[in-house]
C-alpha cells in the first residue's frame, strides 16, 4: 500500500451513535467477508482498538499483521483477471444502477461475486479474488494504475494494465493461454468434481 495515498474518508469522524452503529454493522460484514484490518481503518471512522476487538469477536483470532498484497500484475494473470473483471463488472453495475455507494457498494458487490465464485475456489476453499484484493482493485482504478478494455471478440469489459494497447484486445476467455486452467483443473479434481 506504500505506493498509493489513501483517499479522503467518505464518512467524516463524528460522535453520532447512530452513525457509529451503522459503521460497526458495515465493519462486521466486511470482517465476515475476509477484510484485513487496514481496509477497515480506511473505510470506517472507528478506532483501531474497536476494530481489533470487533475482529477478535467475529473471527475469534487476532487480525493478521503485515503488508497488504500490492501487486498490480496479479490482476493480469489468467484466472485472477477473469475473476477481477467479473467483480469489477458487478461493482460498476451496483454503483451505476443502485443507491449503494462506497464501502456498502464494495460489500454488496463482493457478496454477489462470492456467490458466483463459490464453486471455483482454490485449494483453501477461498474465492480467487479475496475481499482485500477486491478493495485494492478499486483503489488501483481510482489511482489510474489499471484500466478497462473491451474484448474485440466477445465484447466483454476486462481489467488491463494502464497504457496497454486496446484496439485489438482479446480477453483470456476468448483466447486462453496454452496452460490455462491446469492448476484449477487439478484442484477441482482433488475436490471430486
Amino acid at each position: 500500500m506504500s505506493d498509493t495515498s489513501p483517499p479522503p474518508k467518505t464518512i467524516p469522524r463524528t460522535k453520532s451513535v447512530r452513525r457509529e452503529a451503522s459503521e460497526i454493522v458495515l465493519a462486521a460484514s466486511m470482517i465476515e467477508l475476509g477484510s484485513r484490518l487496514q481496509v477497515l481503518q480506511i473505510e470506517t471512522s472507528l478506532s483501531r482498538d474497536r476494530l481489533v476487538r470487533l475482529y477478535r469477536e467475529i473471527k475469534e483470532v487476532s487480525p493478521p499483521k503485515g503488508l497488504l498484497p500490492f501487486s498490480v500484475d496479479w490482476y493480469m494473470t489468467w484466472l485472477p483477471n477473469i475473476h477481477s473483471s467479473a467483480f469489477h463488472g458487478i461493482h460498476r453495475n451496483i454503483v451505476e444502477q443502485t443507491p449503494s455507494r462506497g464501502a456498502q457498494a464494495l460489500v454488496d458487490s463482493y457478496r454477489l461475486y462470492r456467490e458466483l465464485a463459490k464453486d471455483s475456489s482454490g485449494d483453501n476453499g477461498e474465492p480467487v479474488l479475496s475481499f482485500t484484493r477486491a478493495w485494492m482493485l478499486l483503489r488501483y482504478f481510482d489511482s489510474d494504475m489499471v484500466q478497462l478494455s473491451s474484448c474485440t471478440q466477445c465484447g466483454g469489459t476486462f481489467v488491463t494494465h494502464v497504457h496497454s494497447l486496446r484496439h485489438d484486445y482479446v480477453c483470456g476467455l476468448c483466447r486462453p493461454p496454452p496452460r490455462a486452467g491446469k492448476t484449477l483443473a487439478r484442484s477441482l479434481r482433488k475436490k471430486g468434481y
Partner: protein, 114 residues
C-alpha cells in the same frame, strides 16, 4: 384452446415474477436491483404496489420479464467452450455488466471504456 393455455401461463409467470421481484427488493434493495436489472425508478414503483395491483398489472397477454442478453452475448456465451461451468458464469457476468455500459453509451468507437 392452446392459446388460452399459453395465456394462462403468461399471466401466472407475470404474477410470479412481480411477487418475486417485490420480495427480493424488500429483502436487499441494491442487490435486488442488480439481479433484476431494474431501474431505481421502476423498482420503487413496483415496491409501492399492493397485491391487488400486482394481479392487475400481471393480467395481460404480454410477458413482463424479458431476456437480458443481446444476440452477440448469447453467441459469446454459447461459444465459450471452457471446461469449467463456473468460468462460463463469470463470462456471462462480465458480458452482462458490459452491456449496461453500452446502453449508457460509455464505450467509445475503438472499444475503450473511459
Amino acid at each position: 384452446m392452446q392459446t388460452a393455455n399459453l395465456l394462462d401461463d403468461v399471466r401466472e409467470l407475470n404474477l410470479a415474477y412481480l411477487l418475486l421481484a417485490q420480495r427480493m427488493l424488500r429483502e436487499d434493495y441494491a442487490t435486488a436491483l442488480y439481479r433484476l436489472g431494474l431501474s431505481d425508478e421502476n423498482a420503487r414503483a413496483l415496491l409501492s404496489l399492493s397485491p391487488k395491483q400486482l394481479v392487475k398489472l400481471g393480467n395481460t397477454n404480454l410477458l413482463l420479464c424479458q431476456l437480458r442478453m443481446n444476440k452477440q452475448q448469447v453467441f459469446s456465451i454459447l461459444n465459450d467452450d471452457s471446461p469449467y461451468a463456473n468460468l462460463q458464469q463469470m463470462h456471462t457476468t462480465i458480458l452482462l455488466s458490459s452491456q449496461s455500459e453500452e446502453g449508457a453509451d460509455r464505450t467509445t468507437a475503438n472499444g475503450v471504456v473511459p
